[in-house]
Amino acid sequence: MSGAMARRRLLALGGGLALTGGLAACSSPLASGLTGSQPNTADVIFWNLFTGGDGANMVAMEDRFRKAHPDTSVEATVLGWGNPYYTKLALATASGTPPDVGVAHLSRLPLLAASGLLEPIEQTGLGELGVTADKFTPAAWRKATVDGTVYAVPLDTHPFVLYYNVDLARRAGLLDSGGSLVRLEGADDFIAAVKAMKTAGGAQYGAVMSITADPSTAWRCFSMIYSGLAGPVVTDSGTTIALDDEAVQETVAFLQRLTGGGLMPGNLNGSGANALFSTGKAGFLFDGEWQIPSYRQVKGLRFDVVPFPALLGPKPVAYADSHALVVPRNTARSDTRTRNAALFIKGLLDNSAVWAEGGHIPAWLPTQRGRAFLDLSPQRHYVQAAFDAQYDPEAWYTGAGSDFQNVVGGTITEALAGRITPKGAAPALRADLERFTTARPPVTMK
């Protein structure tokens, strides 16, 4: 009996200890997390989804801000790119414990805005700091506007661009006297250039692109060419299919001229495209500018990057997305915190030349036109793409890392691999789109 007593006393003691431990920890982030209050561990809490080179650049920008504003502390948290990030941002905001500043893709903005998760930029005091529409790339600022309200401050534009191997291009006679790629105009011109890379340049392939198991890249390429001919594939906030069958057919036929004739492999994945372009076995590479840092590290590879020329339509189109800074809605946020958040956003914009080293075109015009950025090559060669930017259509299901890109891009991948005919592509895409236009939206959009 006494043994049981002793045990009980021991248990009680242990419980008491655990309890006092818990009480003492009340001020810690863990305890405030358990009680659901915001852990104000810094003046500005900043969430982003950047790792690798972009992550390092972002940290450098944060450090510059800290140096310029020693009184304002910044705590940055990096979360996994794509869904893990957006799910956490949305849930944290919905439950009233959001960060003060977050990063969002502009292609994802329509849904975030419609869910009421974001503070309109007008109410953050950024306007008083000089952050106004006239100082941004117009296309990016337009995309940051949902139903007449601006919900995000664009940090950059990151377009789908045309890489070329300088040595192969010279041998193929594709360089002008200034040493840059000759002006190409229209589909035939472009295909002739790809052919020249292969025949005269001596490349194994005229062009490469990541196709296999990479539906987003396939979608970017398709969307860019298709947008030269027709408007968005869905309208009315994503409830109506507006697919132009003829434009689809023409676009796919063009893509198959590249992949069908051996100019470009129809079954190459990301690492394959990377290896072939890095080793000088491919003349052109179709990819996002964010790959520039990784090709920079390749010894002996001389390459340059330009916007895609006009292919099927009259004007060049650049498929693009933008990283933007948002202030998630929080009714409990004090005016001081909001002011600090605005200050921090302004600081990131001012330092966005650092950001441009990752290949991105600064959306903030004072930086885009500043010395620090204009000294960057090849970054300064494709600035025009930011002005010709074409984003994902506005809907609750579109955007970076979305199931929409995965599904529609999957069909384009099949077309690029030659398993769908140009004529068969439109019905296949229509079936894909129907899955989204008929699904019940998680939030009502205007």
Partner: protein, 315 residues
């Protein structure tokens, strides 16, 4: 998991004040207390979420908004059941199970028997067969992706070098299934191998001795002693393997992204794509419930079948 319980010494009957079979009150209480941590975790992390999932499946819940959202009745279920993509995904999970279960069971048994009969370096073989199982799926997928990569990968290069037509491992549906099956075989077969190795050690050596005296060769010993004695282990391995294969997600997601064109997307990825990527939490919950019912039915059917067979052999 003993296969032959008779070889173990029977537990000696306990002497004490309490009658056999009915533990003392304080012992019962101790038992309840000792299992309490497990039950709490089970309730909080399994039963709780399951019930929340059931509730969510009747609402248009989304991950971008607070609360449950509007009540939609059974319409999530009717949409799931009416979506051919869902049934495609279900079929892909079943197909993966059909492709992987037989080789994973048969090869594991064969390898375990062979490894147990090796005279020298038995530990090395056991380790070598089991080692891949401890490698994380992301790393296995990265390595195999490099080997399968078209144009530059090791395996397509080998096919090309010996003059065989190069299969499109990641870009085509049949190639994708081949790629993911081979990778899964190499990666997970170690677990079944260990189960079989343990069971083989439980086969009493006197049975082999008796067989040897009667003139049975090694092959006859394997066929008539080892394999039948492993029967119970085989049925356990089989059900574990079927359930594990039905739950496939990471290999296919990492290696193929469910592609090409969703032709290999397993049902868990369908749930992930709709519930998280497309923010439709309620719909994803409904799909999960349908899938859950299917899994429970399969397990229950298997359990019933085993019991019937067990009673029949006992009779």
């Amino acid at each position: 998991m003993t296969t032959v319980a008779a070889t173990r010494p029977a537990p000696t009957a306990r002497t004490g004040t309490h009658t056999a079979g009915r533990p003392h009150r304080s012992e019962r209480r101790a038992g309840a207390l000792l299992t309490a941590p497990f039950f709490v975790i089970y309730l909080v992390f399994l039963i709780g979420p399951l019930l929340v999932g059931v509730v969510l499946s009747f609402f248009n819940t989304t991950t971008v908004k607070d609360g449950l959202g509007e009540f939609v009745g059974l319409s999530n279920y009717s949409e799931v059941i009416g979506d051919p993509q869902f049934w495609d995904a279900m079929w892909h999970s079943v197909l993966f199970t059909l492709l992987t279960t037989p080789p994973l069971v048969i090869l594991a048994m064969a390898a375990a028997i062979l490894a147990s009969r090796v005279r020298r370096g038995r530990v090395f073989y056991r380790l070598a067969f089991f080692a891949p199982y401890v490698v994380p799926s992301s790393i296995v997928a990265l390595i195999f992706l490099w080997m399968y990569t078209p144009q530059i990968g090791l395996i397509p290069k080998i096919f090309g070098a010996v003059g065989l037509p190069v299969p499109d491992f990641i870009g085509s549906t049949s190639g994708g299934w081949t790629a993911v099956t081979l990778m899964t075989l190499w990666w997970t077969f170690g677990f079944n191998f260990v189960l079989y190795t343990a069971a083989i050690q439980d086969v009493p050596s006197d049975v082999y001795e008796a067989a040897a005296i009667d003139g049975a060769g090694p092959w006859q010993q394997i066929r008539h002693i080892t394999v039948p004695m492993l029967g119970r282990t085989t049925s356990l391995v089989l059900i574990l393997q079927i359930l594990a294969s039905l739950k496939v997600f990471d290999q296919i997601y990492l290696l193929l992204g469910g592609g090409p064109d969703q032709s290999t997307r397993p049902v868990i990825e369908y749930i992930y794509d709709t519930g998280f990527t497309s923010y439709r939490g309620g719909y994803g919950a409904a799909a999960t419930m349908v899938y859950f019912v299917v899994i429970v039915v399969i397990s229950a059917a298997w359990y019933g079948l085993r019991r019937r067979r067990a009673t029949r052999t006992a009779a």
